[in-house]
């Protein structure tokens, strides 16, 4: 039998309605943040970046996926870092310089080691790449950079986390549990 507190429909409803108020407040704050993002100023992008596009086969994805190989794009938008930056503690990620769990000086957490192995590389090379999302706008032929987000700023974009946050045990994670969608049965 479950150890979790159970109740009547009425008891559940009273607790649920209290939570609903907090959820509505979060939705309003989310809307407010979206408005503030729209108010952010823009930065003109003067560099010309050349990217090469190709379709991804194995994963069955259909979105356009371009390679920035050979350009400064990833470095300029703070998702790729040089060996020198890594050595000298100069990695600026999520608007903070240094102090990241993935930096060279730090003790590398186990999930990062696992992730490096799963991408077929060593930890140092793996941690010179970090996730992020950037938005641009094209106005009268000129490109402007409007927004970038990193680290847990991406949390809302990972569809599955928002669903898991509604399950009784939430994300229920202690380390890396996810795989590429075609690799779960191989583990």
């Amino acid at each position: 039998m479950t150890k979790h507190m159970t109740g009547t429909r009425e008891e559940w409803l009273a607790a649920r309605i209290e939570l609903l108020e907090a959820e509505k407040e979060l939705t309003r704050r989310s809307d407010e943040l979206a408005r503030r993002r729209q108010e952010l100023p823009w930065v003109r992008v003067d560099k010309e970046y050349r990217c090469r596009g190709r379709r991804s086969r194995r994963m069955g994805w259909t979105f356009p996926w371009a390679s920035s190989f050979g350009s400064d794009f990833n470095f300029d938008f703070n998702v790729s870092f040089t060996e020198e930056q890594q050595r000298e503690g100069g990695i600026e990620y999520n608007y903070e310089r240094g102090g990241h769990a993935m930096d060279a000086a730090a003790e590398i957490p186990q999930p990062v080691i696992q992730n490096a192995v799963m991408t077929g590389t060593d930890v140092a090379t793996y941690t010179r790449e970090r996730p992020g999302m950037s938005a641009f706008v094209l106005e009268d032929g000129i490109v402007y950079h409007t927004y970038s987000t990193y680290a847990r700023g991406l949390d809302g974009l990972w569809g599955m986390y928002q669903w898991l946050d509604r399950a009784p045990r939430g994300r229920n994670e202690t380390g890396v549990w996810w795989s590429r969608h075609d690799e779960y049965n191989k583990r």
């Binding site: 039998m1 479950t2 979790h4 159970t6 109740g7 009547t8 559940w12 409803l13 607790a15 309605i17 939570l19 609903l20 959820e23 979060l26 939705t27 704050r29 989310s30 943040l33 979206a34 408005r35 503030r36 993002r37 729209q38 952010l40 100023p41 823009w42 930065v43 999520n94 608007y95 999302m133 938005a135 706008v137 106005e139 950079h145 409007t146 927004y147 970038s148 987000t149 847990r152 700023g153 949390d155 809302g156 974009l157 990972w158 569809g159 599955m160 928002q162 669903w163 898991l164 946050d165 509604r166 399950a167 009784p168 045990r169 939430g170 229920n172 549990w177 996810w178 969608h181 779960y184």
Partner: protein, 251 residues
């Protein structure tokens, strides 16, 4: 060309932008922490034992609510209440938008012992045909022969619609027999099933990744001047121009 009313004050140096961005980042981090706290509060909700034996019509015949858990150890079942009434020809357009967002995540949440399904009142043949057309692979069951949709307050009888109905934990007037929602169930080791959570209306907003992306771009959702917020939305195979450029040329 879409007029954005671009004023030159909006264009700044990298340093000025960074200052504004860092200020916003503080607020975004606060939001993330608040969202985590809400997740914790949800887990603390009491549970209600499900006493009815719901039988659904699935792709391979009849399945009870207990069958839907598929034996996962955490035994959490997330039901997306997909609006598709028996006499409709197609599933709801907005729900289809949400389904596009969750279609690929089933295999991932399965590895957190969570099973995800969609449930609608339309007969299974209609659900199967529409699912094929849309290229989805999530499990979709018909509750056309049970009270499930009515009990979890996403479907309303014609008589109920004459008055205010209970939706999103409030009395409201609606003309629609079916509305969207999400319900969560837990099964313990003895097979008892508990209802833990339901959300409706804008409570499921955050589950749509496309909206989460749109909330990060300069124009946001850009729905304020439309007749209703999702007036721009089509089934993914029904956009007039796949590139999405029609709107631009029209102005």
């Amino acid at each position: 060309m879409v007029k954005t009313g671009l004023d030159t004050d909006k264009i700044v140096s990298q340093d000025e932008w960074l200052e504004a961005r860092k200020h916003l980042l503080t607020q975004e981090k606060e939001f993330t922490r608040l969202r985590d706290r809400l997740g914790q509060q949800r887990r603390e909700l009491p549970w209600v034992k499900v006493e009815k034996n719901y039988v659904f019509e699935g792709p391979r015949g009849k399945e009870t609510l207990a069958d839907l858990f598929e034996g996962r150890s955490q035994l959490v079942l997330v039901v997306y209440h997909f609006m598709f009434a028996p006499d409709w020809e197609e599933g709801c357009r907005s729900c289809s938008f949400w389904a596009d967002g969750f279609n690929a995540i089933g295999v991932h949440v399965n590895h957190r012992d969570v099973t995800m399904v969609a449930v609608s009142r339309a007969p299974i043949e209609k659900l199967e045909a529409f699912k094929r057309r849309m290229g989805w692979n999530f499990k979709w069951l018909s509750s056309g022969n049970n009270d499930f949709n009515y009990d979890y307050q996403v479907s309303f009888t014609p008589e109920a619609l004459e008055n205010e109905v209970e939706y999103n934990y409030a009395k409201q007037k609606t003309d629609t027999s079916d509305l969207p929602g999400v319900s969560v169930f837990y099964q313990d080791s003895e097979g008892n099933i508990f209802h833990t959570y339901s959300a409706y209306s804008r409570g499921i907003d955050i589950l749509n990744p496309a909206y989460n992306y749109l909330d990060l771009v300069p124009k946001g959702r850009d729905e304020a001047e439309l007749e209703w917020p999702m007036a721009w939305l089509r089934y993914h195979d029904r956009y007039e121009d796949k590139s999405g450029n029609t709107r631009r040329e029209a102005r």
